[in-house]
Symmetry: C2
């Protein structure tokens, strides 16, 4: 297996943390997105959408979506379980993994790509059309990210981890979102004591440095 | 179990089709979103975000995210399988379920909520802040929906269903997206013969009327 990766980007980082939690090492190829390498012909032959990460299996099969890659790894290597075991836990993991994406990652990405200079003419990722930056969209993203932090605080005031009493892929997406928010100078308020407690715990795991 | 539902809305429809494929009947409560019932106190007590669907279990536990509900049902009732069995199939289902959401449903929702009169001051769903409509965002959504149709055509030119040779939850999200696009007068081009063939097959299943 080979993972097309970009060390700084949030989505490949989710996959690297997931692999580290499983104790799996995979060959990695860095794709220089700021330099435009994701839109060069040789990478478009790997991933026609120009996105990272992409996992390429030994027979050439490609899986080019972050959580699909994680589910593939989970199916091959069930331990330690990261997507839930009993029906209600499976639902809680899915619910919070997705809420962290929709309310966290996506809003932060909107705030970032609609303001950062290198993305002036590519606010949508990969081979998407060259839509220009939209200040209104950036501002919505910032407001919604603040609400995401509030949602995390409410959840973590009743639960040690996002999906319950143990670490799962939902915590990976949650932590990566909190770190990604720093790219647009948004930080979890100190007053959100439960998020601070949880973040300290998840960011302290060795996998967080993957 | 009780499902808080809205017959016309795309996300609850995904859950109803999923339940129909499993042969499961669940008590349903219609929530009148255009009339604002999702923002009334009694519904906010069920779902503080003011979103549908919500599944409430007999002990009062709530699952308030569409695909989390589907995964809960799948875990309780594994047959017929709709999320994949072998590792690569699990990955393909996840990949295409998510692509249909991110490239289909989300873009269509942006086009719809940023133009439809009843949503003039609530372009974000549920209890989100009252962001106004943004014509640029609606136009991006329309352009990206056209590209989504192209992605479906490319995939379905090589595969009978989205995830492979059998019907899965990816096809549910795909079909619901194609139907939702009609709300903004966008239709799969007649020239997209493989999408037409696939749509005829999936929309012809009894579950499509759920």
């Amino acid at each position: 297996m080979k993972l097309y990766d970009m060390v700084k980007a949030p989505n490949p980082r989710r996959v690297r943390i997931f692999l580290a939690e499983k104790g799996i090492e995979v060959e990695r190829v860095e794709v220089d997105i700021p330099g435009g390498a994701n839109l060069a012909d040789d990478y478009l032959a790997v991933n026609p959408r120009g996105l990272v990460p992409t996992l390429v299996l030994d027979d050439g099969t490609r899986i080019d979506e972050s959580i699909a890659i994680c589910r593939y790894i989970e199916a091959l290597h069930p331990e330690p379980n990261l997507f839930g075991l009993k029906p209600l836990e499976v639902a809680r993991v899915e619910q919070w993994q997705r809420r962290c994406e929709f309310e966290g990652l996506f809003n932060i990405a909107a705030a970032f790509r609609n303001t950062a200079a290198p993305f002036a003419n590519r606010t949508m990722p990969g081979t998407s059309p060259a839509f220009g930056q939209n200040a209104d969209l950036a501002e919505r993203g910032r407001v919604m990210t603040g609400r995401f932090f509030d949602a995390l605080e409410a959840r973590l005031s009743e639960s040690r981890f996002l999906a319950g009493d143990r670490f799962t892929v939902a915590d990976i997406t949650g932590m990566v979102s909190v770190d990604f928010a720093k790219w647009v100078q948004l930080r979890v308020p100190e007053s959100h004591a439960n998020v601070q407690r949880w973040y300290g715990e998840v960011a302290g795991r060795p996998s967080a440095r993957a």
